[in-house]
Symmetry: C2
C-alpha cells in the first residue's frame, strides 16, 4: 500500500497517525501551522515547548518529517541559510492542516481517557468501590 494521499481515502487511512500516542507528529504539524520551519529549528522548538516530555531524537524528527512529506501533509524545499549549511524548509499543506484538526480532536479523546483512568484509580485508592457502583465506575462515571 502506498503512503501517498493518506487523506483521500477512508478514515482508516488516517488511522496510523491518529493512533500515534506521542505528541511528536501533532507537535510538528502544530508548529508548522505557525510558520514554515526547517527540521533543526523544529527540534529546538519542541525541546523548549511544554507538551513534549524528554528531548526529541533528531533522527526520529527528521524521519517523521520525510514520512509526512511522503504522505502529503507537509511540503519542503531547500533553502540556503545566510549562515551554516542549507536547510530543508517545511511548510504545512492543506491536508496537513486537516489532519492537525483531527489530531487535536483525538488529543481531546485521549485526555478524556486519561481522566477516566485517573478517576477510576482514585476511586479505587479511596476505597469508594463497592459491589453496587462497580458497574458505573467502570464506565468512567464519577462516584456519587
Amino acid at each position: 500500500m502506498s503512503r501517498q494521499n493518506v487523506l483521500n481515502g477512508e478514515s482508516s487511512e488516517y488511522a496510523a497517525y491518529l493512533r500515534a500516542e506521542r505528541l511528536l507528529q501533532p507537535g510538528l504539524l502544530l508548529l508548522l501551522s505557525l510558520r514554515p520551519m526547517h527540521g533543526y529549528e523544529l527540534i529546538q522548538m519542541l525541546n523548549g515547548v511544554a507538551f513534549t516530555g524528554e528531548e526529541s531524537d533528531p533522527a526520529t524528527v527528521y524521519r517523521n518529517l520525510r514520512r509526512m512529506e511522503d504522505d502529503g501533509l507537509v511540503h519542503s524545499q531547500w533553502e540556503a541559510g545566510e549562515s551554516g549549511p542549507a536547510r530543508r524548509v517545511y511548510h504545512l499543506t492543506v491536508e496537513g492542516e486537516h489532519l492537525l484538526d483531527m489530531m487535536a480532536a483525538n488529543a481531546r479523546r485521549r485526555r478524556e481517557q486519561l481522566e477516566a483512568f485517573l478517576r477510576l484509580f482514585e476511586n479505587i485508592r479511596g476505597g469508594l468501590i463497592t459491589q453496587e457502583n462497580i458497574e458505573e465506575v467502570m464506565k468512567g462515571d464519577e462516584v456519587r
Copy 2:
C-alpha cells in the same frame, strides 16, 4: 539485562513501563488492584471500560500479563473454573502496586502535556499568537 526486579534498581528500570503511552498495562494493573482476575476476564473488563479506546487484542493482553509476571508486577496460578477450561488467575504484587502508583503519576503528567498541546492549538487557531506572546505560549501558558 534480565527482566527480573524492575523495581529494585534505579528509576531507569521503570522507564519502559512509564514510557508506555497506551493505557493497557496501567489498566491491567488497575483492574487487578480491584481483585484477582484471569486474562479473559481482564479483556472483557477492558473492553467495557471507558479509558480504553478500541478493543484490546487478546494476544497483546496475554503477552503483557506474562511479561509483567516476569517483571514481578503480578503473580499467577492455574485455577480450574467450575466451567470451561482452566484459567490462569493473576493477582497484583506489592511491586505492581507501587508501579501502578507511578503510572498514575505519569498519567497526570501526560494529561498536562495534552492540555498544553490543546491550549497551544486553540491559541494558534484562535489567532492569539503574536510576536510578543509567542515565547510564553510555547511554554504552555495561557494567553492573557
